[in-house]
Every structure is written in structure tokens, then in C-alpha cells.
């Protein structure tokens, strides 16, 4: 589904990604872990097309299209979803309204009719229930006055409504207490399916207690330096990152 080949990227003239390779198959869940400053969030933002990063080399294909040529919204229409680490507040813009506009923009791109209003309302109510969100949240401004946990739940709720092909979740677990973490994980698990892939960026193994990844990668110094199965995450939790770094540098 996603193929990243030798990706180099800089931000403010600092090299951050230095030849990253990663391939995610359809229906797979990949976790990316790594020390602070290793380039995890940069990877998420480069994939979503945020300004301020420059790709200096390499390529990314997504569902057979060249991803890096697309505008952020085009990537969204093709099925990329980014769950933000720090979701922004947008005063006055209604949560539900944003989702409806987003869905319809995608429908239009695919040459399909607008979403039926009644059906849309049913969908968002179902998904809100899944995320244990109060109805009132739907009619509030996007993230305005939400607590940290509420913002993260809102991100997963949006993902549930938009039904992406590839969900990139950037430190979705940070700042969550254990109850909120369980709700968020349950939401993500409910969305796992054969034709949907996940790229979960996280600093802690904690989230992976609830979401079982197919592959775990270690990102350090702008490259994937080690990949393995779920046990790698446990080992990282127990032993930290230093041993992986040493292993790679001696190799």
C-alpha cells in the first residue's frame, strides 16, 4: 500500500530523514518507535504533506500513485489520514460541519454524489458512541476548549468517520490517562480491517499493549535501524534504545 524508498527530508536546513525505507502492506499495522528527535513526527508530517519540510531525495508511492506530488488535501482524498500529536483549535468551525465538508470534498474528487444528510448524521452518531463522546462534542468548535484526552478521542472519531485507507497516528497516546488510552485503543482496533493499514508513531510501548502491531520499527538518526515483531517493542521498553543504537553502529 505504502512504499517509502530512500527518503531524505530537511526542516529549516537541518537534515532529519536520511534515507528512510519502509513498506506497509494492505491491512498491516506498523509501529514506529524511537528516541526523541529521531524524526518520527517529521516522517508523519512529510507523508501528510505539511509545509516546512523539504524532501531532498527518495520517493513515496501510495496505492500506486506518487504521494509526494500531491497537495495535502489530495493525499486525504486518496485515503491518507493523519492523527495529530497536537490537534489545533479552530474557533467557530463546527466539528460536524468540518467532517461533512471533508467527506463531500472527497466524494466530489471521486466523482460521487454528496453524502445524504440523514445517513451522515446516523454515521457520526454511531462513531461518536464508539469513542464514548457526548453528542455535544459534535456541535462544538473543532477542538476548542477540549481537554488533551478529548482532543485525541476527537482525532480517532474523525478517523472513524473519514474511513481512510492508511491512518498515520502521531503520538496519539501521549498525554492520555489509562482510561482514555483504552478508549482510543478500542477505537483504533474497531477500525482495523483487511483493506486498511496503520502507521502508529509512538514513544512508549504502552499503547502497543492494547493494539497489537504486525511489525515494529526503530527509527533513529533519520533511518529505520531495526525492525521486528511485537516482542521488539517489549524489549525496547525493558532495555531502552541504547542497545539498538550500539548494535547498529557496530554492525
Amino acid at each position: 500500500m505504502l512504499n517509502i524508498d530512500n527518503l531524505h527530508a530537511t526542516a529549516a536546513d537541518t537534515k532529519i530523514l536520511k534515507g528512510l525505507n519502509l513498506s506497509i502492506g494492505t491491512g498491516e499495522v506498523h509501529a514506529i518507535m524511537g528516541p526523541n528527535g529521531s524524526g518520527k513526527s517529521t516522517l508523519a508530517h512529510v507523508l501528510a504533506g505539511r509545509d516546512g519540510y523539504e524532501v531532498t531525495d527518495g520517493s513515496v508511492t501510495f496505492l500506486d500513485s506518487e504521494l509526494l506530488d500531491m497537495l495535502p488535501e489530495e493525499r486525504a482524498w486518496h485515503g491518507i489520514f493523519l492523527g495529530f500529536q497536537y490537534p489545533i483549535e479552530i474557533p467557530g468551525v463546527n466539528n460536524t460541519y468540518l467532517l461533512k465538508a471533508a467527506l463531500n470534498a472527497r466524494q466530489k474528487f471521486h466523482g460521487e454524489p454528496e453524502i445524504d444528510a440523514a445517513q451522515f448524521l446516523r454515521v457520526i452518531k454511531d462513531k461518536a458512541r464508539l469513542m464514548q463522546m457526548e453528542q455535544s462534542f459534535l456541535n462544538r468548535s473543532v477542538n476548542e476548549g477540549f481537554s488533551g484526552g478529548e482532543k485525541k478521542r476527537n482525532e480517532i472519531f474523525q478517523m472513524a468517520v473519514l474511513e481512510p485507507r492508511l491512518a498515520i497516528l502521531d503520538e496519539t497516546d501521549s498525554g492520555l490517562d489509562i482510561d482514555a488510552l483504552k478508549i482510543v485503543a478500542a477505537g483504533i482496533n474497531a477500525l482495523r480491517s483487511e483493506d486498511r493499514s496503520f502507521l502508529i508513531v509512538t514513544h512508549y510501548q504502552r499503547l502497543l499493549d492494547y493494539i497489537e502491531p504486525d511489525v515494529v520499527h526503530v527509527l533513529a538518526g533519520g533511518q529505520i535501524i531495526k525492525s521486528g515483531d511485537k516482542s521488539l517493542a517489549l524489549e525496547l521498553e525493558a532495555r531502552g534504545y541504547d542497545w539498538v543504537l550500539e548494535e547498529t553502529s557496530s554492525a
Binding site: D51, L71, F84, P91, G92, N94, L98, A101, A102, A105
Partner: protein, 482 residues
């Protein structure tokens, strides 16, 4: 350059949907202003003597005045002798008795503007007074309103039919000596709307006046007077458009609201006069004096304005909060793009005890436009336990746009609580990216964020007009980002 000019023209045509001219015969007096012109206007309208006397007093005062220069506006000089002060579409001597006698071209004009005047086609629950250049063309639902005791008619009819009300209230809120443009309007105003809501009546429909400038080289000087008698309630809306022309046209209106005990007026404006082209050619000069006098206990006025058009806007709808517990509100969205300039805001004069006021002003400035909020909150020594809250936000789009804030607070009573907050910022890149990540195009994302920014004001508008205002905002800002 002709090719490029026509491209620009096309672009502007697309943006300003109301720029057409109606080809209709008109009775237009030659340009110029003197006492004879005023006598002529008064005679054409068959006015009683008191009106002519008042106009002449106003004119004699006006000639002693100079244009105000304190606003942050850069205006080419106006030649007041080069303007025609009266223009009316040709019609029978007596004027049309019913809609069937109104020139079909006029009806078509309003149809095109989205204001059908046939009652069967009209917006349900909205009565319309249609003012075309200097005169009122027709007023819908007059009979239905009359059943409720509500008077809603052209100003010129009111002068003849209800001279005692006009004489009592005209100039009682905005005296002809008030300012340069108010004096000019008092001397030459030709028509406008008159509303009287009797005691205890809740007006059964929304009232609305639609102003249209059509004729070239004319000014429009309308005057609106609304009296809400004790315990009454009315919601009133005005809209305005004009053709696209290369020269500037002058619009100097006066609106007076009289609000007695326990009464309430909600006054909404969607101002979409032609703003001029991208180079700043043409457009309406809009100088407006609007004031509400809350005379009685528990009276309330609420101004809501969406100012999108005009090359120049000079406008400060004000509230004189004389009555105890009276309430004044001002909700404003002003959008300026390209070369537009606006200096707008409000005055809240707290005289009565326990009076309260709220100001919410949202300014959006794009292109090379310059916009100023100018406001005064004054607490008189008599005004115990009053409150004001002002929120004044500006959004900038573009390196060459400007947003300025000039709030005055004069507080002479210690029990008052006066709070003022203001922010100026541009649309955050983070907000744009968030929306685009969810799949919105950049333009849609901007529109959505701008509408969100203005939401507090839009929700004060009657439903139908909120939708119109939102669409207008999007059109006004077309091309502002990119």
C-alpha cells in the same frame, strides 16, 4: 494592455454579482446643490412646509461645515456640485397604485437581485420596501402589517400620511447639526423607510428595505426612521447593491431608531455596495450615521452588520442607553479586499443605571485593504452598575493589508465594569493544514476558518440572511489567499 484589462474586468464581473445597470427612463435633476435644488426636491415630493423648513435649516448649517478628517481613510476629494441629488425611475404622475402598475423592468431588477416583490413569490415572513435611486418603488405586505397596526411605508408617504409622527421624531436622534454627512442628508434626503410599531405589538413579519443605486452621477441619501413604542418588538433588515462604474458614487444615509420603554429593535444590515475594481477604480463612498436612542426602561437595541462592499465605509452605528436597564449590542463583520478602506465601529453611551452593552467586531482585511475599528464606550456619572464588554478581532490576509484598532473608553462612574479585548492575527498555517489534511481545498479551508471567525456575528442575523452573508464573505475574499 487591453487584453489584460478585459481579464481583470471578467474577474471582477464574476465577483460582484450585482453590477448590472437597469435601462429605464429616469427623472434626474441636473448636478448641483443650492437652496433651489432643495426646494425642488421638496416640491417633487409634495412635502408639508415643516419638512422644507427643516431641510433648509440643515442645508444652511451644512455649508458652514467641513468634511470630517479624523477617520483613517484616504479619500479623493468629493465635488458636491457634481452630483445629482434626485433621480427617480419614470412612472405615472401619481405613482403606481399596485404592483401591476410598477414598471416590469424594476420588478425584473429586484428579481435579479434575489428580492422578488410579488407577495406570492416573496420570502415568507419578510415585508420589503424597495428603494430605487431616490424613491421607494413599492412596499410589500403593507395591508397585512396594517392589520397589526404596524406602519411600514416609504418615508415620503409617511411625511404626508403621518406628519405628526414624523415631525415629532425626525432629527430627535440624529439632529441635522450632528455631523457633516448627517447635515447633508437632512437637506437632500429623498426617500427611505418609515416604521412605527404601536404599543405592545410584536411585528408579525421581518421588515426589510432593499436599496439600489442605478443611475450614474447620482448620490443616494436615504433616511430611515423606526419608532418602537412601549413594549413593542421589530426585526428590520437592510440590503444594498449598486452597478459597477468607474467613477465613485456617494451614499450618505441616516438611520434613527427610537426605542421606548420595554421595546426592542433588532436592526441588521448586509451592505454590498459596489466596492470598486482591483485597482481601486470606482465604488461607492458610504458615509452613514446610524443611531439608536433607548429612551425607556428595559429598552433594547441590537445592531448587526455585515459590511462587504463600498470603496469607502465610514459608519458607526451607535446606542444611546438612556433608559434604566437598557441594552445595546453591536455585532459587526467587516471585510475589505483589494483597495477597499473601512473605518467602522460603534459608540455605546451609558447614561441610565444598569445599562449593559456588548460589542463584537470582526474585521478581515485582504489585498491592499486598510480597515479600522473605531469605538467609544462612555460611562456617564449617572450610569451606576453598568457593564460593557468589547471583543474586537482582526484577521489579516496578505502582506499589504492593514488592520487598526482605535478604542476609546471614558469612564466616569466607579461602579462600571468595562472590559476590552482585542487581537490581531493571520490565519494560522496549522489551522489551514489541519483542514487540508482532512480533505478540504485551501480555498474551502480559508472560507471555513473565516466563517468560523465571524460566527458570533452571523448567528445574530435572521436565518435567510446569515446564509447570504456567508456566501457574500466567500465571494469578497476570492483570490485573497494563494
Amino acid at each position: 494592455m487591453p487584453a489584460k484589462n478585459s481579464e481583470v474586468k471578467k474577474l471582477v464581473d464574476k465577483k460582484y454579482r450585482h453590477g448590472f445597470v437597469t435601462d429605464i427612463g429616469s427623472d434626474t435633476i441636473p448636478p448641483g446643490l443650492n437652496e433651489d435644488v432643495i426646494r425642488l426636491i421638496s416640491r417633487k415630493k409634495d412635502e408639508p412646509q415643516f419638512m422644507l423648513d427643516w431641510r433648509l435649516k440643515a442645508y444652511r448649517h451644512w455649508v458652514t461645515l467641513r468634511e470630517p478628517d479624523w477617520a483613517k481613510l484616504d479619500i479623493d476629494p468629493i465635488d458636491y456640485q457634481d452630483i445629482s441629488y434626485y433621480s427617480a425611475p419614470m412612472q405615472n404622475d401619481d405613482g403606481p397604485k399596485s404592483l401591476d402598475e410598477v414598471d416590469p423592468k424594476l420588478l425584473e431588477t429586484y428579481e435579479k437581485l434575489g428580492i422578488p416583490l410579488h407577495e406570492r413569490a416573496a420570502l415568507a415572513g419578510v415585508a420589503v420596501d424597495a428603494v430605487f435611486d431616490s424613491v421607494s418603488v413599492t412596499t410589500t405586505f403593507r395591508d397585512k402589517l396594517a392589520d397589526a397596526g404596524v406602519i411600514f411605508c416609504p418615508f415620503s408617504d409617511a411625511v404626508k400620511d403621518y406628519p405628526e409622527l414624523v415631525e415629532k421624531y425626525l432629527g430627535s436622534v440624529v439632529p441635522y447639526r450632528d455631523n457633516f454627512f448627517a447635515a447633508l442628508n437632512s437637506a437632500v434626503f429623498s426617500d427611505g423607510s418609515f416604521v412605527y410599531i404601536p404599543k405592545g405589538v410584536r411585528c408579525p413579519m421581518e421588515l426589510s428595505t432593499y436599496f439600489r443605486i442605478n443611475e450614474a452621477k447620482t448620490g443616494q441619501f436615504e433616511r430611515t426612521l423606526i419608532i418602537a413604542d412601549e413594549g413593542s418588538h421589530v426585526s428590520y433588515l437592510e440590503g444594498c447593491t449598486a452597478p459597477m462604474r468607474d467613477e465613485n458614487q456617494l451614499h450618505a444615509a441616516v438611520v434613527e431608531l427610537v426605542i421606548l420603554k420595554e421595546a426592542e429593535i433588532k436592526y441588521s444590515t448586509v451592505q454590498n455596495w459596489y466596492p470598486g475594481d482591483e485597482e481601486g477604480r470606482g465604488g461607492i463612498y458610504n458615509f452613514v450615521t446610524k443611531r439608536a436612542d433607548c429612551r425607556g426602561t428595559n429598552s433594547k437595541v441590537s445592531w448587526t452588520q455585515v459590511e462587504a462592499g463600498s470603496a469607502i465605509t465610514w459608519k458607526y452605528p451607535s446606542c444611546v442607553l438612556r433608559g434604566e436597564n437598557s441594552v445595546g449590542e453591536f455585532y459587526s463583520v467587516a471585510v475589505t479586499n483589494n483597495m477597499q478602506q473601512a473605518d467602522t465601529g460603534t459608540k455605546m453611551l451609558h447614561i441610565g443605571a444598569n445599562s449593559r452593552s456588548t460589542i463584537v467586531s470582526k474585521g478581515i482585511s485582504a489585498g491592499h485593504a486598510q480597515q479600522s475599528y473605531r469605538g467609544l464606550v462612555k460611562i456617564f456619572p449617572t450610569a451606576h452598575n453598568t457593564r460593557n464588554h468589547t471583543q474586537c478581532d482582526s484577521l489579516l490576509m496578505g502582506k499589504h493589508s492593514g488592520a487598526h484598532t482605535f478604542p476609546y473608553m471614558e469612564i466616569k462612574n466607579p461602579t462600571a465594569i468595562v472590559e476590552h479585548e482585542a487581537t490581531t492575527s493571520k490565519i494560522a498555517d496549522d489551522q489551514l493544514f489541519y483542514c487540508r489534511q482532512r480533505g478540504l481545498s485551501e480555498e474551502d479551508a480559508v472560507n471555513m476558518i473565516v466563517n468560523g471567525f465571524c460566527k458570533e456575528v452571523f448567528r445574530e442575523l435572521p436565518m435567510e440572511f446569515a446564509v447570504e452573508a456567508q456566501a457574500l464573505l466567500n465571494v469578497s475574499l476570492e483570490g485573497a489567499v494563494g
